[in-house]
Symmetry: C2
Subunit: 234 residues, 2 copies
DNA sequence: TGTACATCAGTGAACGCGCGTTCACTGATGTAC
DNA sequence: TGTACATCAGTGAACGCGCGTTCACTGATGTAC
């Protein structure tokens, strides 16, 4: 009865739950999220369909749980990459690895939204955690003056046009920073983090959806050029 | 019988076809592409389900046609924006408008791929047309020395790290340019166009999927800062 | 202008299918005394 | 250690549903002479 000591039944339960989820992921990888079927999962596991209702409230509950897990695993991946101290480009590479590992998992979180569905509320917290990690790494590189951090500003300075809209964004972000929580990052770091984030998704979503196949070039070379920071030194 | 003169029957046919597609789009907007149902469309139109088989080979054929149309409409939008002479940022704004007009249309082309499905072959040509337009506008800005074009290079120059991987990408692109067809754009323009393209999709896919809602800032301000070229002058 | 025929849009019934979900029930596992 | 009971995993039958698709058929529209 001590906290953390699971009874045999509880252990069995969570084991079966995990197995159900594993099959669900396999199915999603094969047929997409819209093709996920409780009956098919049950069949895979050698059980009858209704048996799954002992473990999940229904199809929607199961999907919700998968979404939650996907968010969690990305947040963990990000956290580990940040701890590894490989900087922004390390974060980028980790995310790409995570995405390529199971493209449909990426799409379950960042892909086409199904009009009726709303992600579980607690994913907001995980999403914030991800952004916080990104901000941490961004701020660290900024503080260290690591090459790459100055990119957006340097680009603006180079423009004849001047950084009018860039400044506007930084001002705006300084005033609308829910997503950054109480992170102490200065406006230009907020902006840098946000830009990095969106660019990352640009390359990844196109690559994962197969829009680079048939174009001829190697996505990895593009990725490296777009997101390397330190690796290009020499 | 003169070419281009459609018989009443032919006109009626294409009119009904168009109406079917219109309802299909409505349904996709409401329930997503996976929720598209022939019977529901027929009901909407006050006909019986099997009647649709006079106009389309089946559900897959209809979807294929919608994908084709979506590609076409984006290519046209791009073409018009290029003709308007508003430069790269004009292209960006046009694409965002197009995307916001019907997010599910965007997702039908660039969203989560459904594992089994392959887009019709002729969409490749349209996709190339889109890239060609992008390259045209990119090359024009480059030739005119318009501010903004130098962004990526300026950023690299500013880096202590040096543009090693950027050069690598340009070399690579110069040697793998199927996607660019026989467009005479030099490597740094190829790279610039590709980067612009991926960044565009980054912001748009996140915005359309709703990942900015709840973050606090205004997506439009981000968009402007990321893609304006001339508009920020002054 | 009128008749005979071909074309073709649309119907209604029917097909098999797989889905999520409910329900009453069986049988094994764990718990309390 | 043994018995009585409660818990709970899993089954099998059944529900209603909407789907894509086929088929034989009706009736209107267009064409040929």
């Amino acid at each position: 009865m001590a906290a953390g000591a699971a009874s045999p039944r509880e252990r069995y339960r969570s084991q079966v739950r995990a197995e159900i989820k594993a099959r669900a992921w396999e199915q999603i990888a094969t047929a997409g999220a819209s093709g996920l079927s409780l009956n098919a999962i049950a069949k895979d596991l050698g059980m009858s369909g209704p048996a799954l209702y002992r473990y999940f409230g229904g199809r929607d509950d199961l999907i919700t749980e998968l979404v939650r897990d996907a968010y969690r695993s990305l947040a963990d991946t990000f956290g580990a990459a940040a701890d590894a101290g490989t900087g922004l480009s390390g974060l980028a590479r980790a995310m790409r690895r995570w995405a390529l590992e199971d493209p449909q998992r990426y799409f379950l979180v960042y892909g086409t939204p199904v009009p009726g569905y709303r992600a579980p509320d607690d994913t907001t917290a995980t999403a914030r955690e991800i952004m916080a990690t990104l901000l941490d790494v961004c701020a660290a590189e900024d503080a260290a003056g690591t090459p790459g951090t100055a990119e957006t500003d340097a680009a603006d300075a180079e423009r004849g046009a001047g950084p009018a809209s860039a400044d506007a964004l930084e001002t705006h972000l300084a005033e609308h920073r829910q997503w950054a929580g109480d992170h102490p990052a200065p406006p230009h770091v907020l902006r840098r983090a946000l830009a990095y984030w969106t660019r990352l998704h640009g390359v990844l979503s196109l690559e994962l959806a197969g829009h680079f196949t048939g174009m001829g070039f190697d996505p990895e070379v593009l990725f490296t050029a777009e997101f390397e920071g330190l690796t290009g030194t020499g």
